[in-house]
């Protein structure tokens, strides 16, 4: 899994005559040509908006003056947001949500990867099915599960008919289960990716190591604990970060299935920010929430970079 970094030599070939001075400048210009389309696109529509977001957070912006001037009000949006009980509740929900998705993605992903790692026909069918679900438009998945989890839908029908519960559970319209439902669907749609990646990592483990363990009389569970898991640890770390990022970015399921409600019981910080901007038209407050969300993004990005650097040691 160690990727060799491209060496410097391949960009300084022996017979290239114009390396110094003019060649160097020309190199930079050519680099710019290759990077220009992305630089313009990202500069205008990704980076500049972040600057605008910060300005919004520090200004009094509502739908009324969005296209006009934004009066500067310092940190009051931020302090107000941090003291808002709804925001605090949603922050806690978000952390719980992220943690739950992380743990279950890795745990279930690992177990299923182990089950599916041999190249049999049924394994192929199972994986294809799972990747197909992963590739479906989230809107479709959200609609599907809105139907499946509805009070008059199949799941409740099965639960009631099987006498598991006396009456249907309103999964999506009661605060106790709304966030859980979102988490469950997020996992259903997201685990296939984890299974693929983990399976790949498991199959990378040299067969001799596993053979040696078997010959030495190691029980399967010991092999898993002492050999397989440690070998795939970098993959699990990276996948872990990516899963948390994916869950944090999740929007479609919440919008389609519960619109963050009832109340804000199934909202994450990003969804709450969106709602504050587009339903309450409080762009300044939404900006403040966004800035706080960006702090989380920075933490995740740093975690990811650190893990990748460590692996490419």
């Amino acid at each position: 899994m160690i990727r060799t970094k491209p060496t410097v030599t391949e960009s300084k070939p022996a017979s290239a005559p114009h390396r110094r001075g003019g060649g160097h400048w020309r190199g930079a210009a050519q680099q710019l040509v290759f990077m220009a389309p992305a630089a313009i696109l990202l500069g205008v529509l990704s980076l500049y908006p972040i600057y605008l977001m910060v300005r919004m957070a520090l200004s009094d912006v509502t739908a009324a003056n969005l296209r006009g001037a934004w009066p500067f009000i310092g940190f009051s949006n931020l302090t107000q947001t941090l003291q808002d009980p709804t925001f605090r509740a949603v922050t806690l929900q978000t952390l719980v949500f992220l943690f739950g998705v992380l743990v279950f993605t890795l745990a279930v992903g690992f177990v299923w990867a182990m089950m599916l790692r041999l190249p049999t026909r049924i394994n192929y069918v199972a994986q294809t099915l799972m990747v197909f679900v992963w590739a479906l438009p989230p809107v479709v998945v959200g609609n599907v599960w809105s139907f499946l989890l509805s009070s008059s839908g199949p799941l409740n029908a099965a639960l009631v008919a099987g006498h598991v519960v006396p009456s249907p559970i309103p999964f999506l319209s009661q605060p106790e289960t709304s966030l859980l439902s979102i988490a469950a669907v997020t996992l259903w749609a997201g685990v296939p990716f984890a299974v693929l990646v983990i399976k790949s990592a498991i199959l990378d483990i040299p067969v001799d190591v596993l053979e040696a363990a078997r010959v030495d009389g190691a029980k399967p569970i010991q092999t898993v604990w002492h050999i397989i898991l440690p070998s795939i640890r970098p993959t699990l770390y990276i996948l872990g970060v990516l899963s948390v990022v994916g869950a944090f970015k999740g929007f479609d399921f919440i919008y389609v299935m519960t619109t963050g409600g009832p109340g804000a019981s199934s909202s994450t910080i990003p969804f709450l920010a969106y709602r504050t901007a587009f339903k309450d038209y409080q762009f300044g407050t939404a900006g403040a929430m966004s800035v706080l969300a960006m702090l989380i993004v920075l933490v995740l990005a740093t975690a990811y970079i650190v893990v990748v650097q460590r692996e490419e040691r």
């Binding site: 290759f34 605008l52 182990m114 438009p137 970015k249 990005a301």
Partner: protein, 270 residues
């Protein structure tokens, strides 16, 4: 390796059911009447009807499909146009600040779209892009380029150094190396990201619903979201529409499944 064969079979069966059963119920429901769904949601023997499909096949649907196509193709082409050369530059041209750029891409990739939509809503009017499909498409592209670029890197890095060195010795500059050597060799990577970007853009609805106002410009994904509440809860219509919305994914998938699976593993796991 763990537990016996029977347990493995039970586990596998559970996995397949966990994914196949919901999809099957959806398929079946799209051929039921709404009353049948309400009363017998689990029933797999029922008089099939095309009532739901007839109800949703309207001119509005055709318009929505056309809008989806326009937005998706524009977004995909723009993303490719930006990401393919950028990834080449980052892996094969070694600009001074490669590390910084990659770090920025990683961070940008992690920004929730629900967040980026907020300042964009203030910016797009100034650019004359609000309420337009290109505005949506470009926003999608900007949000996707970091992901596409990072996913392409391993493919470029896999191009053998010797081949590039030989070309350089023969006097090829970066442009020729890129066009004649790297591009053909990273074909698989380009295929993978094209499919992924296409599928992602096809399903995108946040930017569409935020930046567009005209019902006649909405893509299919917005129509899908509008199913809830607009038709009350005509679940059979909703399931039928969802299946139609999934068709491009199904087609692309059937055509590229193997390459996609291995490409994903290469790009993301390694």
């Amino acid at each position: 390796m763990p537990s016996g064969r029977t347990t493995r079979w039970i586990g596998l069966f559970a996995v397949v059911m966990f994914y196949a059963f919901p999809l099957f119920i959806v398929l079946a429901s799209s051929f039921k009447t709404n009353a049948d769904i309400q009363n017998y949601p689990l029933e797999l023997r029922f008089p099939p009807t095309l009532e739901a499909y007839r109800a949703i096949l309207t001119p509005a649907l055709v318009t929505a499909l056309a809008n989806s196509a326009v937005i998706t193709v524009t977004a995909t082409v723009t993303t490719l146009f930006a990401a393919i050369p950028l990834a080449y530059a980052l892996t094969r041209m070694h600009p001074r600040w490669t590390g910084v750029v990659i770090g920025v891409l990683i961070a940008l990739q992690m920004v929730p779209p629900a967040i980026s939509v907020i300042p964009l809503y203030g910016l797009l009017p100034a650019l004359g892009l609000i309420g337009t499909r290109p505005g949506v498409a470009l926003s999608i592209a900007a949000a996707t380029v970091p992901y596409a670029t990072l996913l392409l890197r391993p493919f470029y890095l896999a191009v053998p150094n010797e081949v590039l060195e030989a070309a350089a010795v023969d006097g090829a500059g970066p442009l020729r190396s890129f066009w004649l050597i790297c591009l053909p060799l990273v074909r698989n990577g380009i295929l993978v990201i094209t499919v992924l970007v296409f599928i992602g853009a096809w399903g995108e609805f946040l930017f569409s619903i935020s930046f567009l106002n005209d019902q006649g410009l909405y893509p299919l994904s917005v129509l899908l979201v509008q199913q809830q509440g607009q038709y009350g809860t005509a679940y059979n219509n909703m399931m039928a529409l969802g299946l139609i919305g999934a068709i491009p994914t199904i087609i692309l998938f059937l055509l590229t499944a193997r390459k996609l699976t291995s490409g994903l593993a290469l790009g993301a796991g390694k």
